[in-house]
Symmetry: C2
Subunit: 148 residues, 2 copies
């Protein structure tokens, strides 16, 4: 019997599957999953083009979906895995959700929330960065190489 090791890499791989799904739809390839008690309760990818909606980032869709799944709007016992550092809109949404933990793949030096002071995140939210950074980053680079 195979034992599944539910670690950060395992869930980031799931977020990467979502990012690839976005890529296949000509969307900027960002994917996310929300995990509670080692179970994925929401999965999503960027759909801004498909939905004609600038707010349809992977994180916003994941927060809305996770809250619906839980039946409550706060994600206090949840972890978000996201392939790219959230923008300021998504960081603000994550702050309102009071999510426990955020695990980030690739940094976004241009648009990432960490460019802003003070930090827009909730003080109780813990952050892990650089999980499968190369894979997450390469996917974005490949996308922009292709459309230019």
């Amino acid at each position: 019997m195979q034992t599944v090791n539910f670690n950060d890499n395992y869930f980031m791989k799931e977020a990467l599957k979502e990012a690839r799904e976005a890529f296949s739809k000509d969307e900027v390839p960002v994917g996310a999953v929300v995990v509670s008690n080692n179970k994925i309760i929401a999965r999503s990818h960027n759909l801004t083009e498909t939905l004609n909606d600038v707010t349809a980032h992977a994180e916003i869709l994941a927060i809305t979906s996770a809250a619906e799944n839980l039946g409550g709007k706060y994600l206090t016992n949840c972890t978000l895995y996201v392939t790219l550092e959230p923008c300021i809109m998504c960081a603000g949404a994550l702050q309102w959700s009071q999510i426990s933990k955020i695990v980030i793949g690739a940094p976004d030096p241009k648009r990432g929330y960490s460019n802003f002071t003070p930090s827009p995140l909730h003080p109780k939210t813990s952050i892990t960065t650089g999980i499968m950074e190369t894979e997450c980053s390469e996917l974005i680079k490949e996308f922009f190489k292709r459309i230019r």
Copy 2:
């Protein structure tokens, strides 16, 4: 024949109607309208409790609705009227929308986007503040007085 004067006060009054609608649903009373060529193309109010969704702020709903109405995701020739200074999530969404102008009623010294550096808004977006500030501010104060 009565001539309607389409000025900032006129549209902020419409946003205030939306805020009062939120109040009647026990939602934090924030309302918004999006205007294009002197026509209201979207109107919304905060629905975070009703929808169980922290992202359901008046501004996010207004951006999504306006884009749907226009058939395109950018609001480059639009003005948002909102009764309360947007939070960082909403400011981020407004930045992505490339909206031309934002007209704000009451400031939000605690949660408002203007607490953050650099400004999260799009450099081409112009801002007007303090339109019907007293009415917008009183409505919020009345709400929090009632629920405490």
